[in-house]
Symmetry: C3
Subunit: 424 residues, 3 copies
Amino acid sequence: MIERTARSLLQEYDSTAADCFWLFFGGCLVFFMQAGFALLEAGSIRAKNVKNILIKNCLDACIGAILWWACGYSFAFGVEGDSPNKFIGGKDFFSALDKPDSTTYYAFWFFQWAFAATAATIVSGAVAERCALSGYAAYTFFITAFIYPVVVHWTWSSEGWLTDGDIGPGFLDFAGSGVVHMTGGGAALVGAYFLGPRIGKFGADGKPVDIPGHSAVLQCLGTFILWFGWYGFNCCSTGAWGDMALATKCAVTTTMAAAAGGISALACEVFMGKQADLPPILNGILAGLVSITAGCNVTEPWSAFVLGIIGGIVYTFSCKLLLALQIDDPLGAAPVHFFCGAWGVIGTGLFASKRYNGLLTGGSTGGKQLGIQCLGVLAIAAWTCIVSGILFFALKTLGYLRVDAETEEKGMDESKHGGTAYKA
Amino acid sequence: MIERTARSLLQEYDSTAADCFWLFFGGCLVFFMQAGFALLEAGSIRAKNVKNILIKNCLDACIGAILWWACGYSFAFGVEGDSPNKFIGGKDFFSALDKPDSTTYYAFWFFQWAFAATAATIVSGAVAERCALSGYAAYTFFITAFIYPVVVHWTWSSEGWLTDGDIGPGFLDFAGSGVVHMTGGGAALVGAYFLGPRIGKFGADGKPVDIPGHSAVLQCLGTFILWFGWYGFNCCSTGAWGDMALATKCAVTTTMAAAAGGISALACEVFMGKQADLPPILNGILAGLVSITAGCNVTEPWSAFVLGIIGGIVYTFSCKLLLALQIDDPLGAAPVHFFCGAWGVIGTGLFASKRYNGLLTGGSTGGKQLGIQCLGVLAIAAWTCIVSGILFFALKTLGYLRVDAETEEKGMDESKHGGTAYKA
Amino acid sequence: MIERTARSLLQEDSTAADCFWLFFGGCLVFFMQAGFALLEAGSIRAKNVKNILIKNCLDACIGEILWWACGYSFAFGVEGDSPNKFIGGKDFFSALDKPDSTTYYAFWFFQWAFAATAATIVSGAVAERCALSGYAAYTFFITAFIYPVVVHWTWSSEGWLTDGDIGPGFLDFAGSGVVHMTGGGAALVGAYFLGPRIGKFGADGKPVDIPGHSAVLQCLGTFILWFGWYGFNCCSTGAWGDMALATKCAVTTTMAAAAGGISALACEVFMGKQADLPPILNGILAGLVSITAGCNVTEPWSAFVLGIIGGIVYTFSCKLLLALQIDDPLGAAPVHFFCGAWGVIGTGLFASKRYNGLLTGGSTGGKQLGIQCLGVLAIAAWTCIVSGILFFTLKSLGMLRVAAEVEEEGLDGSKHGGTAYKA
């Protein structure tokens, strides 16, 4: 009786504050990844377009916050209570409803905004160096206000049709290999397709021409910032202070996958006869991180290692696939986020520990979990690619999508943004 | 009785450790803003003066720590107990008094040092590219040791004449739009005035000449780092773990204002017929952040949005004002910190929620809170501008303030710091 | 009885908070990898930047895999039945079952970040002429063996130097010796066996200044390191409950960093040079390394003193290296090895009375100082001798240094597909 009273007092006193902090901490780290994306993207393109991509990154964060407030959060998490909608939320637009003083609402809002900003900013890499600012802003509006929140509602709200646990079929995507990375990466892929390749990317014979980025230093710093922020992305997805031991296990699995992905992608390059270079290691690290994001909480260090190794390989070969399809993705955004995101979700169905019914770890339900994972991959891929496809096609038809050839050759900074990024 | 015992045990056990952590966490994030300032400043000036400004930023942090230890903290927070001094503190110089083992003293010292370092480093942006290192070091000494701590004592100590709450008249400046940003920004304005404009900034006809910064990438990364650190600046100002729900609401209001400020300043530029460029978005984000710093804990997401929108406009027009007055502020430090700082304080008097008597939200005391806010703005502005004015005038008269024309034309790095910042 | 029940329930809460504290520290210390990468890139010539960034990434990646395989076990695998004071030997590949509620993973993560720090120190001293294969081989050994052994001696519960009741009471709270001397000693030895860069010393033996290509990268790198150091030093309390002490470490750490920066700058100016940025940056790092051993047992004033002297130690060990014709492009050995040793010794001098600092009225005379010196000698001998064997072997096998032609052209152009900077 004494124990029960004391437990409930502990619960009441501490839990809200600690849970709020944990989500806030995660939100800060994931927000900082915006800087990582900005630098990685800037470093991977030519100097003449750097201001343009930085402007796009800033707009993603700013416009994203306003849209997340207006309707994004509500579409994602506004659960209606009386008549649950498995497709999209519809409550508490503009955070207008009263909130109690002691609430985790704001912490959770902040944490989830940072995730939404991540999904949105993935697209800018694939459409870099030739996408018009107005077209990009229009697209960012839709992904943050609608495309992404709907996927979140399916998977992470308490009433979505894919929601894991008792309600739905048990789709496992802990921190978003599918929800965030496939959604952003699929839109990136479709955007790069409708945009068409940069002038000079493919020769007359269709052979790809390497257009190296202007600064390996920025690529490297960007990647390290992303890796650092990813600890908030993955570990804080436990959502509550009380599961800290599990959260710190996620730190270990996340690190294993990042390391494995970097080594794996580098090894692929060297085996294919190229010199050891930096961008493959960096993108390999990111590939590993995306690959573990779905299952960081249900894997062991050894299986995280395996997920990362395969992630590096998936990255390498999906880069080749895109080039074979004559799709120009300057950042490799689709290989890193879409293809490795899908691998992350599927791989979780293979390697989740026995308790979570991974196919290869002796789970008791055979391939059922794997089947649910594949269902999720197909659903997310179809949703993001079809809706993005409609949007990009409309923007292209209206002439908003691509800058004219003269602007592209000269560089967008000089033509559209008052001058180059670098001066004396 | 069981409940009472348990509650008091909880209190004893948890509170100091968690409060210490919360202040420490905030101190780390706010300290990291030093890197943000360094990069923003470096990117906004010409390459030939980059080492000089980085040296100034490092000296701000180093000299600042030593002075904060020697007397800064004591002037700010050294409350004398027996005969309280409403103007300046006077106890515990060099942290020499014994402290109990379990104390939040050090955590609070650390958190407040990071704030002091922020106030000091604001000045370097406005005096960039022509201020002599010795003059700058002398000025930094005074702002960290005296000018800033006095303002802190008025507002954030338990005995200051402006202190909010039961003691004083209830001045609301939660994280320092006035205390930090107006103090630093006012000194910056006065410094830029006494220093005079850079050679070539104003043509013979008085028309301003644009002197663009040498790297948009550094400006962008610097701004993102500042935004990231600002979550510690604003949210950790609750000062205690127990108020975490409120702290995370501050994260949301902070984000809304930053986003609104960025969009607002960009819109101003575009409406005035200029191309969409990066520096206005960046400074707009900072303007929004400064604008919400006073009232992040007493506003709602919608009012934070409004404060940010107006902050972007205040920034834009105060830039024009400075140019009209022939004052050259290479970073826009005074527009961002002084003018938006004042707006942040005044805006809090307008938009603070009903409970805090905001004029426009139905507060019961009419314009009284707004009146107190204005009183604080005037007091801080007068203090910082007059004392800084005396100091800068003295330094100028003694010939310590500005480098000679030849050094300025050649660049301070080559003349004074052993060579340029960038080499092969 | 009520009190006992409540206290034991509170204890349960303790695991979550302790896990978080170690995790938080691990994140900050991991972020220092970015700091090292930028500081190193900025301090060398542009033609070798990709090479050093590749080395930094490989340190993190390879280090992780090795820490998992055997590094953590050699460091912390305490055998229980027959304790080994030299090296651990349990739980390779983290293969043993762990309970659900455990601080194991948080601690593993925190310690991996430290190991990655020790390993990456070396890349600065061997920059601009060390072959990638030789460097990878070396990194393998330092993360898998050299560093974990030192950790076992000092930070495991059964090492021969372990502080507290078990061993003689060696004080090295966050690793001036364990991390910085180990990495810095390897760096010194590596720079020695590698030989100086072409053109570093003139025909007369006089050193030629080879400035780094970007002061901005050096500066940002240093600030990131300083930021991460708060996790490095403060989170070394290892438990949430000691938070008041941890935040005192934040103050001592800050005092030493500031003092080191001012001190090194002052040395330069007194010696007649212009005020320049790299001395301030390396001075800040020297101060940070100097306080790392004793941040928890010093006061702000003694931290200040440790930092001032750290800046002086840094300045003069730079001169020593040049006099010995050793080329260390980052000053890695001055900052980490020499200041690391000073940090350990200085703790024996300035640790507060309770911890028997010689100059603060401690009751055991110079005994603590003696133990500190013993630790310095042991760590220096271990790291320098084993690294020396390894570097000598790599050199004999021709795996250590790139060809002169490659070095002149730049490692990026020759070996990594092109330069770091393009249009």
